[in-house]
Amino acid sequence: MDKKTLTFVLMDAPYENSRTTTAFRLIDSALRKGHDVKVFAYEGAVALSFARQAQHPNAVHGRDAAQEDHPNPKEWIVALQQAAAQSGSKLEWMNCGLCVDERGVGEVVAGVTRGSPVDLWKWSEASDNTLVIATR
């Protein structure tokens, strides 16, 4: 297999739409196949990497936070970084800086950077292909 560089553009905020799950599945597949992946997150998707996401209890079902084991997308990003390391591929994750500032989600998990639409354009130019997963 030839190693390719693929860029994914995400727009959805976490916890809202199954597009986020599908995007993570696509990125995971690409990394496991050994491709290099660039992810540009903008609008609500910049909150995917927010470091202050926290698990919570579920009072309705009488479960504490550990029992509930509620998944948070920041952990999925870390898992993707680990998958990249295992497969010898490279994962770069960049948030739109203006979108981050608007939402106050500047504290991010390690390895996530901030940039601008210009960086997305440069990434897309340098990639073999780009998939935009936009909201409606």
């Binding site: 297999m1 030839d2 390719k4 693929l6 199954s18 597009r19 599908t22 599945r25 696509l26 597949s29 690409a30 196949k33 491709h35 073999d128 292909n129 998939l131 935009v132 997963i133 936009a134």
Partner: protein, 108 residues
Amino acid sequence: MANYLLIESRDPWESSDTSSWLELAASLAREGNTVSFFLVQNGVLPARRSAKSAGLTALAKAGVEVLADEFSLRERGIDAGRLADGIKVAAIDVVVDQLAAGRKVIWH
């Protein structure tokens, strides 16, 4: 001529614009392009034999490769044996492979 992969994530009972997406795929195929049509999320709902599956079967007969995401089908309890004619089950890896192959991939 070009190679296309159109991804349909929307439920036709909820989003009437899915018919436009079907027509786009059919038009591209008529023009001689190679076209795949990948159903994912609630987009797989019409893959089950139903009032909305005829369009997908017609697309397959027109030479478009119509694929339904295995994970999305499983999430919704749709068995492969209940799929309409012309629709094949596929892993999401297909999308990555076609991206890597340089296809024009468009999400809906």
